[in-house]
């Protein structure tokens, strides 16, 4: 027996006399008490307290509390008269129950019947004398237990039979047989109830195990949830840190981009300056080459006015024999008879060679000076004279326009 269940039955046996237990609990308690002597003994003790002691205690408590005021003698007399008059009115019922003298034949017949019944019980009972003795010993206890409301069970059926003998032995024997059948039926029912009880206990045990297993699962799940919460909190913190870091990096990238743009701007400026320097350097080299060259011929080309005076020079050549020619023209487009959209083309002529084009003048940065460079040594070696003509934009394959400037190259150098 599970000690927990035993404790429950102890509680039920205490609660039974309060009338606050259910029919089902009372049935289970009866079954339990049938084989648990300590519980049965305790049940009787509770019963004795409730039946015998409590009324006396209640009377003491009621007298202590004061209760009703004492009745006047008239009232008491009136109550007594009322009682006596009720005795008169209930006279058929009011006859005091006296211990009746039982004729000697009835106890003898009863004893004989009981002897037959006991013999029959021993003969037919499947469990033998030991169980029968137990039934005999259990009988009075359950009968006592049933002194409370609504007696149930097999003993309740047996009890009236033994208390009120009637008729002849044959009738009594019939009653005994009927009681035996009822007893057997009741035992079967009791066995069935015990089986149900065992099944219920097994089910309860299983439920308890399932509950424990579920509790374990819940504990594990709670631990997992706690772990996930921790991870989630950690991830959130990391995410916040990453977001802050991203913001900081974006700021840094913006600053770097601005710095790069500044540097690009500065670099572009430097590139421009470098290009200018290179340009200047190239010019310087040309100038240095020209200045440093031997056999250099430098000549200004003048136009002569109608009055025989020399005009302002509008051309100058730097010629290194058979090596290079730099031809400068001044204010070519400002001559009165020159159109705006024209090109100034430079030609070369040898003594035995046809006219060849040396290229078109281009303007330098000042827009006032026109320049042509020619480093073709072979062509220069065969030329005797160069001249400039006005040609359509893009130039022509042979001279078509008016000659503007002319210079002879087969002359001795003036800077040897």
């Amino acid at each position: 027996m599970n000690p927990h269940f035993h404790d429950e039955f102890v509680a039920l046996s205490a609660l039974y006399h309060s009338g606050e237990i259910s029919e089902e609990e009372w049935a289970l308690l009866q079954i339990h008490m049938a084989y648990c002597d300590p519980c049965h003994e305790r049940f009787l003790q509770y019963q004795q307290i409730a039946s015998d002691l409590v009324p006396a205690m209640a009377a003491v408590a009621a007298s202590e509390a004061g209760g009703l005021p004492e009745q006047s003698s008239e009232a008491l007399r009136a109550a007594e008269q009322r009682l006596m008059s009720r005795l008169d009115s209930d006279s058929p019922k009011a006859v005091p129950v006296q211990k009746r003298k039982i004729p000697w034949q009835i106890p003898v017949a009863l004893a004989a019947t009981l002897l037959i019944a006991v013999t029959g019980l021993i003969a037919f009972h499947p469990f033998g004398p030991r169980q029968e003795a137990q039934v005999e010993s259990n009988h009075p206890r359950v009968q006592e237990a049933h002194s409370a409301p609504a007696p149930t069970g097999p003993e309740a059926a047996v009890a009236p039979t033994s208390q009120s003998p009637q008729g002849n032995p044959a009738n009594l024997e019939k009653q005994v047989l009927a009681a035996q059948a009822q007893l057997k039926q009741s035992r079967l029912e009791m066995a069935e109830i015990e089986k149900k009880l065992e099944a219920e206990q097994a089910a309860r045990t299983q439920l308890s195990q399932e509950r424990d297993a579920l509790n374990q699962k819940i504990t594990v799940a709670q631990a997992e949830v706690a772990s996930l919460n921790t991870q989630s909190a950690s991830s959130s913190a990391n995410a916040n840190q990453q977001a802050a870091r991203v913001v900081a990096l974006e700021e840094k990238v913006r600053a770097l981009n601005a710095a790069i743009e500044d540097k690009d701007t500065a670099l572009n400026a430097k590139d421009r300056m470098l290009d200018l320097d290179r340009d200047f350097l190239a010019h310087d080299r040309d100038i240095r080459d020209l200045i440093g060259a031997r056999n250099l011929y430098i000549a200004d080309i003048f136009d002569t006015a109608a009055n025989g005076k020399t005009a302002k020079p509008f051309g100058r050549i730097f010629y290194t024999k058979d090596r290079s020619l730099v031809f400068y023209g001044f204010d070519l487009d400002k001559r009165g008879d020159t159109k705006r959209d024209v090109a100034f083309q430079v030609w070369g002529r040898g003594s035995d060679k046809p006219v060849v084009s040396l290229g078109l003048f281009y303007q330098d940065d000042t827009n006032k000076r026109w320049i042509l460079r020619c480093n073709d040594a072979r062509s220069l070696a065969r030329l005797d004279m160069v001249f400039v003509t006005v040609e359509p934009p893009g130039g022509s394959s042979k001279p078509t326009g008016k000659q503007l400037l002319r210079a002879y190259l087969q002359i001795p150098p003036n800077h040897p």
């Binding site: 309060s18 205690m57 209640a58 007594e80 009682l83 019922k93 009011a94 005091p96 409301p149």
Partner: protein, 175 residues
């Protein structure tokens, strides 16, 4: 009681005058109605006159027996008035008060000693549960409403208190 058993009305009148007040107090405390208490007094003494043969002098005094009858009748009457359920009170009394080997009629002195011991040895909640139920006839539900506790708590206090009382009474040093 012997005279009452023989049908003496004078003896019954004597018992009535002697025990009327105690019976009426017990009945009134449980029923809480003067008219009901008066009716119950009549019922108790009618029952005594009819069932006097059930009294066994070896089990205790007549006054204790009368108080027992009055108490159980009052409790039954209260239950009847509470739930309006039909039952045969007379038969019940005969079963409860019939000859049992263990039956005892506890006298007032022993009852007072037990009452004092009860009040000393149980907690306030347990004492309330026991006294409201035993002395005033309240059900557990009524006690729960009255004391503001749960039904389960009242049931538990009742059981624990009663177990304490039982252990005290039925121990070797008991009353």
């Amino acid at each position: 009681m012997e005279q009452v058993c023989k049908g003496s009305r004078d003896a019954l009148a004597l018992l009535f005058r002697k025990h009327n007040r105690a019976v009426r107090n017990v009945a009134y405390r449980i029923l809480r109605d003067e008219g009901e208490a008066d009716d119950l007094v009549q019922e108790v003494f009618l029952f005594l006159f009819q069932k006097a043969a059930l009294f066994d002098a070896s089990k205790g005094s007549a006054s204790s027996w009368i108080i027992q009858i009055a108490y159980h009748r009052a409790i039954n009457r209260r239950q009847y008035l509470t739930v309006r359920q039909h039952y045969d009170a007379l038969e019940l009394e005969e079963q409860r008060l019939g000859a049992g080997e263990r039956r005892l009629f506890v006298d007032a002195l022993v009852a007072k000693t037990c009452l004092n011991r009860l009040r000393e040895q149980v907690s306030t909640e347990q004492r309330e549960a026991l006294e409201f139920h035993f002395f005033d006839g309240y059900t557990f539900r009524e006690i729960a409403e009255k004391t503001g506790q749960t039904l389960g708590n009242v049931r538990n206090h009742y059981y624990r208190g009663l177990e304490r009382l039982r252990a005290c009474i039925f121990s070797k040093e008991g009353v």
